[in-house]
C-alpha cells in the first residue's frame, strides 16, 4: 500500500544563505499518487525531496508519512538518484539485496531478488559484476534495489536524466507501471516536461528565491500513456505555458524561440534569466 504524505509548511534556510531555499511549502499526496516536482535549477526541489527521504531536516515545518513525522531515512521510503551509485565490488544480485540484508530480512531473499530482477529484465545478469552493465541496466539494478524492501514511497531525484533517450522513455514507463501495480506513492524531481507529463498524476511547478510551489496541474490521462495523443501534447503545452508565464517580459521572445526549437534545453536557457516573484505569484493565484 502506498504512503500518504503531508508536507506541512516547510521553510528551509541553508546556513550562510540569507534568503530561504524553501518557503511555506504545503502539499498533500494521496496513497498511490505520483507527483512530479518540476522547476529550474536551484529552486529547492531536490532539497524538498531529500527532506521527504529523511536525509535532511527542514528548519521549519515537517514531513509526515502516514501521520508519522520523518526524522531519518527508512527503507519504507526509498530514494533513487541521478547516478545509480551501485557498489562496484558486488554482483547485480548483491547490490539489489542490500536493503534486505540491512533489514535482516534474509529469508526468501534469493527468490524475492530473482523475481525483482525478472521484473526489471536482468535475470541473466544476476551474478555479473555491475561494472559490466550499461547505464540503463545499472539504473534498473538501482530500481530493483529500491523495490526490494517493499517501499510505500519511491523518491526519484532526476533518475533518468543521465540516460539516452530510448532507455529513458523505457524506464519512465517501467517505473510508472511498477509503481501503479504495487500501489506505491511516487514523488520525483525532473527538469523534463515530457517526463513529468508521462509519469505524474499531478505536477507541481516550483519557482525559486524563495522556493515555493507556483502552480499545480493534474494530469488525468489513462495509463499507459501515448506520448503522441492529443491530450498528452496539450498537457505538455500547458505545462510549458507555466514556464513561459514565469519569464520576465524582456527575456520572453528569445527564450520562446529556443523553446520551440528544443523543449529539452528550455530549462537550462531559463535558469540564467532574471525572473520576478510577482509574475510567479500570479500563476499560483490563477
Amino acid at each position: 500500500m502506498g504512503a500518504a504524505i503531508s508536507i506541512d509548511y516547510i521553510t528551509h534556510h541553508y546556513p550562510g544563505q540569507e534568503a530561504p531555499t524553501l518557503k511555506d511549502i504545503q502539499v498533500n499526496i494521496a496513497p498511490g499518487e505520483t507527483v512530479a516536482l518540476i522547476g529550474q535549477s536551484g529552486c529547492g526541489k531536490s532539497t524538498l525531496l531529500h527532506m521527504l527521504a529523511g536525509l535532511l531536516m527542514p528548519s521549519d515545518g515537517c514531513v509526515r508519512i502516514n501521520g508519522h513525522q520523518v526524522i531519518k531515512p527508512s527503507p519504507r521510503w526509498n530514494m533513487m538518484f541521478q547516478k545509480p551509485s551501485l557498489y562496484p565490488w558486488m554482483t547485480v544480485r548483491k547490490n539489489a539485496s542490500l536493503g534486505l540484508i540491512f533489514q535482516g530480512r534474509k529469508r526468501d531473499m534469493r527468490e524475492r531478488i530473482d523475481q525483482l530482477l525478472e521484473t526489471v529484465g536482468l535475470t541473466d545478469k544476476a551474478e555479473v559484476n555491475v561494472q559490466s552493465l550499461s547505464g540503463g541496466q545499472q539504473q534498473r539494478v538501482a530500481l530493483a534495489r529500491s523495490l526490494a524492501t517493499d517501499p510505500e514511497l519511491l523518491l526519484l531525484d532526476e533518475p533518468f536524466s543521465a540516460l539516452d533517450a530510448f532507455t529513458r522513455v523505457a524506464l519512465q514507463d517501467e517505473v510508472t507501471r511498477l509503481a501503479r501495480e504495487r500501489g506505491i506513492s511516487v514523488v520525483f524531481v525532473t527538469h523534463d516536461i515530457e517526463e513529468a507529463v508521462a509519469m505524474a498524476d499531478r505536477v507541481l511547478v516550483m519557482g525559486s528565491n524563495p522556493g515555493t510551489i507556483t502552480a499545480e496541474l493534474s494530469i488525468e490521462i489513462d495509463h499507459p500513456r501515448d506520448r503522441n495523443s492529443q491530450a498528452f501534447v496539450d498537457r505538455k503545452a500547458e505545462l510549458m505555458g507555466y514556464f513561459g508565464a514565469t519569464r520576465s517580459p524582456a527575456a520572453a521572445p528569445e527564450a520562446a524561440g529556443s523553446e520551440t526549437a528544443s523543449p529539452e534545453t528550455e530549462d537550462e536557457g531559463q535558469a540564467t534569466e532574471p525572473t520576478t516573484s510577482e509574475s510567479r505569484a500570479r500563476v499560483r493565484a490563477a
Binding site: 527503507p75 551509485s85 542490500l98
Partner: protein, 279 residues
C-alpha cells in the same frame, strides 16, 4: 614479426605450431626485461668482487664476490641452517605487522572519516613518523621484558604509519553517494563498515601494508643486531664477528630474496582486493 614470411614450411604445420610459438613469445616478452635487470645486478656484483679482490686494502673481503657467496648460500640451504634465522625474523615481522595493522587500519578509518581528528593528529603523527624507529631502541629495551617484544614494538611503530595514512586516504576517496545510498537503504554503522567502507578501501589498505612490509623488513635487520641471538640480522652480525664474509653476503642474499617474496605477496593481495573491473 611476420613468421610466415621467414619460415618456408607448409602452412598447416605453422598453424599447428602457432599456439606454442605464441606462448614462447609471451614468455620471452614477460621475462626478457627482468632477466636483463638481474643480469645487470650480477654483472655489477661480479665487477665489485673483482675490484675488491684486486685492491690490497680490501683483499680480505674478497669472499663478498658472487662465487664464494653463492657457494656459502648453497651450503646454508643444504645444511638447513638458513631456516632457523628466517623463521625467527618472520615471526617478529609477522607480529610487528599484525599490531601495526590492528592499530593502523581503525586509526586510518577514523582519521579519514573525521576531519577534526585528521587536523588534531596531523602534527603529532607527522612528528612521530619522522623519528627513526631505531631511536626508540633504548626505550623499547627498558619498557619490554624480552628482546623479542622490543623488536616487535620497533617494527610495529615503523609499520603503523604507512598503513594508517593509506587507509585514511582510501576512506577520503569513498564516493559520498555510496554512504548516502547505504544510509537510505537503512544501513547501521556496522553495515556501513562491513558492506561499504571496508570493500571500498581494501585496495588502499593493502597498498599501505605493502609499504609497511618494506619498512618493517628494513627495520628488522638493524633491530636484530642488538640483544637477540636469532634472526637474519643476528646471523649477519655473527658472520662478521667470525670473519665469514661469504656467509655474511649469503645472508644478505637471503634477506633480499625473502623481502622480494613478501612484496610479491602484497602485490598479489592488492590486485585481488581491487574492485576495479579488469581490462
Amino acid at each position: 614479426m611476420n613468421r610466415e614470411a621467414t619460415l618456408s614450411v607448409d602452412p598447416t604445420t605453422v598453424e599447428r605450431l602457432m599456439p606454442l610459438l605464441r606462448f614462447a613469445d609471451r614468455a620471452r616478452r614477460a621475462l626478457q626485461y627482468p632477466a636483463l635487470g638481474i643480469a645487470g645486478l650480477f654483472a655489477l656484483w661480479y665487477w665489485g668482487g673483482w675490484a675488491i679482490a684486486n685492491n690490497e686494502d680490501t683483499m680480505a673481503f674478497a669472499s663478498f664476490a658472487p662465487g664464494p657467496t653463492l657457494a656459502a648460500f648453497w651450503d646454508l640451504v643444504v645444511s638447513g641452517n638458513v631456516w632457523k634465522p628466517i623463521e625467527s625474523s618472520l615471526y617478529r615481522v609477522g607480529w610487528g605487522l599484525a599490531y601495526a595493522i590492528a592499530i593502523g587500519v581503525p586509526l586510518g578509518v577514523m582519521i579519514g572519516y573525521f576531519l577534526t581528528l585528521k587536523q588534531v593528529t596531523h602534527v603529532p603523527f607527522q612528528f612521530l613518523r619522522m623519528i627513526s624507529p631505531l631511536a626508540w631502541m633504548p626505550i623499547a629495551v627498558l619498557a619490554f621484558a624480552t628482546w623479542d617484544a622490543a623488536i616487535i614494538f620497533l617494527i610495529a611503530i615503523a609499520a603503523v604509519w604507512p598503513i594508517t595514512y593509506a587507509t585514511a586516504h582510501g576512506v577520503q576517496r569513498i564516493d559520498p553517494m555510496w554512504l548516502k545510498v547505504g544510509n537510505n537503504l537503512g544501513a547501521n554503522p556496522y553495515h556501513t563498515l562491513r558492506y561499504i567502507v571496508m570493500p571500498a578501501i581494501a585496495q588502499d589498505v593493502f597498498a599501505g601494508i605493502r609499504l609497511a612490509v618494506g619498512v618493517a623488513w628494513i627495520v628488522l635487520v638493524p633491530a636484530e643486531y642488538l640483544g637477540v641471538t636469532s634472526g637474519l640480522g643476528y646471523a649477519i652480525n655473527d658472520a662478521r664477528d667470525t670473519l665469514e664474509y661469504d656467509k655474511l653476503a649469503a645472508f644478505v642474499l637471503v634477506i633480499g630474496i625473502i623481502g622480494y617474496m613478501l612484496d610479491a605477496i602484497c602485490v598479489r593481495l592488492i590486485k585481488r582486493s581491487s574492485y576495479h573491473a579488469e581490462g
